[in-house]
Symmetry: C2
Subunit: 356 residues, 2 copies
C-alpha cells in the first residue's frame, strides 16, 4: 500500500469513527435498508435512548444469564413485498430470520413469538398459507411458536401483512461468539452462493423482465451452525440479510478494529444473481441472503470449518472468501477480479427495498 493510499484510508477511518448524528428530519427508505442510514438511526437514536450493555454489543441478538443459564433473545419485523415468492413466503422468513439471529450466537432456538399486523380486507386464505409456512418452518428449525398477537388496521394503513417474530434460545456450548473476538490472521467464510434471496424478490416483483429458476435461500441455519461449531473454534458468525455480505463484514471490521480483505473471485455468486445484479446496477456483495452464514475462524481452522460446512446440505457451496488483517482498522478491502483493491463500504441508500 502506498503512503498516499494509507493517508486516504486513515482519513476515511477517522470519518467513520465520528459519532453519527441523525440529520434527517424524516424517515427514509434507507433507514430500513440495514446499511449506513440504519446504523446512524440505531446509533444516534435507539442506542442513545436505550443505552445498556446488551444493546451496545450491536449484535443481532442479546445474550444474558438467568440463574447460571445463558440465554439469547432477538427480534425482527418482516415487511417483504411480495408476500409469496419462489422458494418461500413472509412466513418462512419470519421464522428463519429470528432462528438464524439466535443460531449465529451459538444459541439453540427454543421458542418464538409472532406478532401480526394485518390490513383490513387481507384474504384469510393468504393468512392461512402464511401461517402454515410458519408452522412448517418452525418444525424444521425445532422451535415452538409459543405466544402471539394480532392487530388489524384500516384499509390503506398497512400493506397486507406485516409479521414480527422474537425468539429466545439457550447457549449450551462453552462459546462466546461475537465480532469483538475477531483477530488478524482469521479466515472469513461464507456458507454458499450469496444474494439469491434479494434477487429472487426483485425478480418476483416483475421489475426485471427476466425468467429465472432462482429461488430464495431462506432456511434455518441452526443445523449448519451446529456442524460448524463441532468442527472449529469459531470467533463470530452473522447471517448477511439486509445490506448483504459487505455490510456484515463492515460491522465485523468496525467492531473488532480490524481490516477484512476479501478476494472477490472467491465469493460464490450464481450466474443468474450476477446477471440480475448487473442489470440492477448493484454489487452482489450487497444483496440479501436469508439462509447463508458468514463465519470468521482462526486461519489454521479454516479448512476444518470449510469441510464441516460443506458436509451439511446448506453449506455445500461454502467458500473461504478472505482474511482478517490488522490494518487499516474498520475497513473492508476488496481484491477485485481485475487485480485492483477497493474499499467495500456499508450499503448506502436502499437499492433493494423491502426484501425481508
Amino acid at each position: 500500500m502506498s503512503d498516499l493510499e494509507r493517508t486516504v484510508l486513515e482519513r476515511i477511518e477517522r470519518a467513520r469513527r465520528r459519532k453519527p448524528a441523525l440529520a434527517d428530519e424524516r424517515v427514509t427508505m434507507a433507514h430500513g435498508a440495514g446499511g449506513k442510514a440504519t446504523h446512524t438511526l440505531v446509533s444516534a437514536l435507539f442506542l442513545e435512548a436505550f443505552r445498556n450493555p446488551l444493546l451496545e454489543r450491536m449484535e443481532d441478538q442479546a445474550v444474558f444469564a438467568v440463574n447460571g443459564s445463558r440465554l439469547a433473545i432477538t427480534t425482527d419485523s418482516f415487511v417483504v413485498s411480495p408476500l409469496f415468492f419462489p422458494g418461500g413466503s413472509i412466513g418462512d422468513l419470519a421464522v428463519n430470520g429470528s432462528v438464524n439471529d439466535l443460531s449465529v450466537a451459538g444459541a439453540r432456538p427454543l421458542y418464538l413469538t409472532a406478532g401480526f399486523i394485518l390490513e383490513e380486507g387481507f384474504p384469510t386464505a393468504d393468512l392461512r398459507r402464511i401461517v402454515q409456512a410458519m408452522s412448517a418452518a418452525a418444525g424444521a428449525a425445532g422451535v415452538s411458536i409459543a405466544a402471539g398477537d394480532t392487530k388489524v388496521v384500516e384499509r390503506g394503513k398497512a400493506d397486507g401483512c406485516f409479521i414480527n417474530t422474537a425468539a429466545v434460545g439457550v447457549i449450551e456450548r462453552d462459546v462466546c461468539l461475537g465480532a469483538a473476538s475477531i483477530r488478524p490472521g482469521d479466515a472469513v467464510l461464507v456458507s454458499g452462493p450469496i444474494g439469491d434471496h434479494g434477487v429472487t424478490i426483485m425478480l418476483a416483483r416483475g421489475e426485471l423482465d427476466l425468467d429465472s429458476a432462482l429461488v430464495s435461500d431462506t432456511a434455518p441455519l441452526c443445523g449448519l451452525v451446529d456442524c460448524l461449531l463441532d468442527a472449529a473454534p469459531v470467533r463470530a458468525m452473522r447471517d448477511p440479510t439486509r445490506g448483504g455480505v459487505a455490510t456484515v463484514l463492515n460491522e465485523m471490521a468496525a467492531a473488532a478494529g480490524v481490516a477484512i480483505a476479501v478476494d472477490e473471485a472467491a465469493v460464490p455468486v450464481r450466474a443468474e444473481v450476477r446477471g440480475a445484479c448487473e442489470i440492477l446496477g448493484i454489487d452482489p456483495l450487497y444483496a440479501a441472503c436469508e439462509g447463508r452464514l458468514v463465519a470468521v475462524v482462526p486461519g489454521k481452522a479454516a479448512e476444518a470449518a470449510l469441510g464441516a460446512m460443506r458436509g451439511h446440505p446448506l453449506g455445500a457451496g461454502a467458500a473461504i472468501i478472505g482474511e482478517v488483517r490488522g490494518d487499516p482498522p474498520g475497513l473492508v478491502l476488496l481484491k477485485t477480479q481485475f487485480g485492483g483493491t477497493r474499499i467495500a463500504d456499508m450499503l448506502v441508500g436502499d437499492p433493494l427495498p423491502r426484501i425481508c
Copy 2:
C-alpha cells in the same frame, strides 16, 4: 334462576363450546379487536397451525423452563392512533403492554425487544419522542431494551409508526397462575377505575366534541403485582386491554369452566368514562385499560388482596367486583344496577378500533 333461564343459558353455553370456524374470507377490524372475532381467528387459524402445549394455554404469555429456571415470554404489536395522547404515547404502551403481560403471570420482566415498522416520511422528531418514552417506561419497569429491529415501508403502506415488543422474564415465586386454577367461591377484583385508556384514545381523536381531563391509565403493573402476590394466594391475573374487563372475565370463565358473577354497581368507573361511553354507545366493561389488573383470589383472601392493592399507588381505586360460581360454566353474569341479571358476552365487533 328459573328453568327457562337455565335452558337458555345451557343453549348459549353449548353454542360457545362449538369449535370455532373461520368463515370470513377477509380480515376485518373485528379480528384485531381482542373479542370474539379475534378468538375465532386465533383458535381456528393460529392455534390449529402452531399447536403446542404453551400456546394452548391461551394466556397472554408462555411459561417454560430452562435448566430448572421458569421463564415467561410474551409479545404485542401496537398500532394505536393517535400516536400521542393524554397520559402517554405508543412508546409507553409498547413497553408497559409487554411488561404487564409478563407481570400477570407472576414473572419479573427482564428484557424487552423492540421492532419498529416506520412509514417513509415519518418525522424523526416524533420517533425520538416515542423512543424517549419507551426508555422512561423501561426504566420505570426495571427492564432493559436489549434487542431491536427497524423496517421502513413506502409512504402510504403503513400509518406512521407501528411497534412490536416482546419480553422475557423470570418467575421467581413458587406460583402457578392461570385461569385454569380459578374455583367457585373465588373473588374477582379490579385494581382501579376501568376504561380510562380506551376513552382517552377516543377523545384524543376528536370524534366526540368533549373536553376532559381524562388521561390514559398506561402503567407498568409489576410493582402492584408484587404487592398482591405478597399478600394473597392469587389464582389468576389478567390486564384487561382490548375487549376490556368483560372479555377478560369471559376468557377466565371459559378456561376454568366456571361462572363469574359481577356486581355492576361495584365496578369502579369514572364519571367521565361513563359519560363518554354512553355517548359512544358502549359499555365501560368493554373499554380498554392499559394499567389495570383483574385478579381472582380465594374468597377468604379477598379482603387481604384488596388491602394490598389499595396500599399501592396504582391500586388505590381497587374494588371487589364479583365472585366465581360453579354454574352456568363459561358465562359471565352481570347483576345490573337495576336489579336484573344479564349475560356479559365477549366483545363483538370493534367499537373502539386501534386503541393499542
